[in-house]
């Protein structure tokens, strides 16, 4: 992604219109690859979400979709390879080696760059997780190619180039980025931005095993310990069914409790917009939006959130978006399904009570019957 020191003019001119023919040595680059992220025995769901997006790109280009599985030889890697075919892979590349047991940048970068240089994909997608971002930046620099971070939309245009769209200028506008004259074209996508594709039971297909070119003695960084998050079993904001969030319209950190109360009454997760994190009202793991969590709940209630683009891209996948804001011209009403022009501070307590009553009334009805 472009990170201009003096940001480019929105009307992109100059080189954007002067596409050269792809250099000869890049013409052999074919097919779409998805990096299957698995750590500590589990595949990150973003990998399957990317397989869904990658399948569409590959079909449009008329090429194959490959899953790239890197890790220690064993059940996890074998399972990830088998699953990748159920999520649409035509083939899988595997680098299995004990050196790859835990994620370390050096070893994973070596594995990925060697695979790319050997088998030459035209598109390489990774999840924008801590692991994926750390790896993607290193791989793109090593390969001297372009990388678009946190894409919210992926497409191929008429001449087969990857068009990656992402928010820009602090999330106030969107931009579409191309890597025209370099290969592979790389992009990362945050979890939950792409829908989870339907899993279809399929047998294992073609698997290409590749040797890791480095040994443990080559790797400088050693893992001393891994401390799992204590709350890792708790319901996760990104994967919650119902999310209630608050923004600057709440006016004070104390009023954020109204959002938490509604979330509790509904059995929902709670979140907030970026300014609340920047002001220190709410912890950063509750931030929803481009630089926070992307959510795809069945119901999203935004209270006092104006709906800047960087927030919008984080919630657009919700089935139903309800916005409460005093400003009827707030941008959130451009993408909400249901709107209420009122002060969230006044509505939230009444809504909490009404929800509590409705949900418990139902349960007592049912208990009585």
């Amino acid at each position: 992604m472009s990170e201009p020191t003096t940001p480019k003019a929105p009307a992109a001119g100059g080189r954007a219109s002067t596409k050269k023919e792809l250099p000869e040595h890049f013409k052999a680059y074919k097919h779409v690859w998805v990096f299957i992220e698995q750590e500590r025995g589990q595949v990150h769901p973003v990998s399957w979400e990317l397989m869904g997006a990658g399948r569409k790109l590959a079909d449009k280009l008329g090429v194959e979709l490959a899953a790239v599985v890197v890790g220690a030889e064993g059940e996890t890697v074998r399972g990830a390879v088998a699953e990748s075919f159920c999520y649409g892979a035509d083939l899988a590349y595997v680098v299995a080696d004990p050196v790859l047991t835990d994620y370390r940048n050096e070893a994973y970068t070596a594995a990925m760059t060697d695979l790319v240089n050997t088998y030459k994909p035209e598109i390489l997608l990774l999840g924008a997780t801590t692991l994926g971002r750390d790896l993607a930046g290193a791989v793109a620099t090593t390969l001297l190619t372009g990388l678009t971070a946190d894409s919210t939309e992926l497409d191929v245009d008429a001449d087969g180039s990857l068009a990656a769209t992402r928010p820009t200028f602090g999330g106030s506008l969107l931009c579409t980025i191309y890597t025209l004259n370099y290969r592979p074209q790389m992009a990362t996508v945050r979890p939950r931005v792409m829908p989870m594709p339907i899993r279809v039971e399929k047998p294992i297909g073609r698997v290409i095993e590749h040797k890791l070119g480095v040994v443990e003695a080559d790797i400088v960084t050693k893992i001393l310990n891994f401390i799992p998050d204590r709350d890792s079993n708790k319901a996760n904001l990104a994967y919650a069914d119902v999310v209630v969030a608050g923004g600057m319209g709440l006016g004070s950190p104390e009023n954020f409790q109204l959002v938490r109360n509604l979330a509790v009454a509904m059995g929902a997760e709670y979140g907030c917009s970026r300014p609340l994190v920047q002001k220190g009202w709410v912890s950063s793991d509750r931030q929803i939006g481009q630089t926070g969590k992307t959510i795809r709940p069945r119901l999203y209630i935004a209270a006092g959130i104006s709906g800047a683009i960087q927030h919008r891209v984080g919630v657009e996948g919700a089935d139903l978006i309800v916005a409460i804001n005093t400003d009827k011209n707030a941008p959130i009403f451009d993408f909400a399904h249901v709107g209420i022009v009122t002060d969230a501070i006044r509505l939230l307590p009444a809504l909490t009570e009404a929800f509590a009553k409705r949900l418990s009334a139902h349960s007592s009805d049912k208990l009585a019957s």
Binding site: G146, I177, A354
Partner: protein, 282 residues
């Protein structure tokens, strides 16, 4: 010991406005700040220097006005500031930016001693890519350690560093070797206020200004637009959903909350049963 901290001057994003008609950024009068994530990197570097001795050099690439951010960094206690500024750098994407910064860090090393550590923030608030740190590390062949929550041990004599790194689902404890690049996570420390002595020194200090040639760039094709594999083809504001939001109003004597709940459950019929089950503790 020598530590280089890379910072970026960014527009205060809370104050960016988009022109409603032309969809261009209204930049006039938007104040600039040091990228907030970079302050965690700077503070961590200053703490290491205070404990183990040595110098902290802050480096930025940007327009001449980025000097303001460097001077601010000096008031916090940085020892030296280098501004990389040249029209050849304009339009750099993350690859070209990391090339320019890496080249300048090499030059800084030749001039004031090879750095043992390079610090960056997690990402910037305007680009949000988190790619420049890894880019610098790879260009310079440094160990790359991102999302660092804590430097647990630091042994300059033994040339080792032990860090806690945020990973998916937990924290990795890593031991690595100097020189390395550390991208600090937010909320890991709090930037100091800076002393009066530092403020006075910062006011008088000379910010070192380098153009591409001064910084040791020999191939200008690696810089700016020319050195950037990515191209921004289109910048646009997202369009409104074709289906307009339905506005709920409390009718005569009606209850706004109940009207909203009815609307929600009419659109998501299965949700009511699921939430009710949840409320009953299933």
């Amino acid at each position: 010991m020598h530590i280089v901290v890379c910072i970026k001057q960014v527009p205060d994003s809370a104050q960016i406005r988009v022109h409603p008609v032309t969809n261009t950024i209204m930049r006039q009068g938007v104040p600039t700040i040091i990228n907030p994530y970079d302050l965690f990197a700077l503070e961590e570097a200053l703490r290491l220097r205070d404990k183990f001795g040595g110098e902290v050099t802050v480096l930025t690439m940007g327009p001449p006005s980025a000097e303001d951010s460097l001077r601010k960094a000096l008031t916090f206690g940085a020892d030296r500031a280098v501004l990389l500024t040249d029209r050849f750098f304009a339009g750099s994407d993350t690859l070209a930016t990391s090339f320019a910064l890496a080249t300048a860090i090499t030059k800084i090393g030749e001039t004031w001693g090879v750095p043992d550590l390079v610090f960056t923030g997690k990402q910037t608030i305007d680009g949000d890519t988190a790619q420049v740190g890894p880019g610098i590390a790879k260009r310079l062949g440094l160990m790359q350690i991102t999302y660092v929550a804590k430097i647990a041990e630091f042994d300059p004599a033994d040339r080792t560093i032990t860090l806690e790194r945020r990973a998916e689902g937990g924290t990795q404890v890593l031991k690595s070797r100097l020189p390395c690049l550390v991208a600090m996570l937010e909320a890991t420390n709090e930037i100091r206020r800076g002393t009066m002595v530092d403020a006075l020194r910062a006011a008088r200090a000379e910010v070192v200004k380098w153009n591409a040639k001064d910084a040791g760039v020999t191939d200008l094709n690696m810089c700016g637009l020319k050195g950037s594999p990515t191209i921004v083809k289109r910048v646009f504001a997202p369009s409104a959903r074709s289906e307009k939001a339905k506005f709920i109003e409390a009718g005569d004597g009606g209850n706004l909350s109940e009207a909203l709940i009815a609307e929600i459950f009419s659109r998501q019929p299965s949700l009511e049963a699921d939430l009710t089950a949840l409320a009953r503790g299933f």
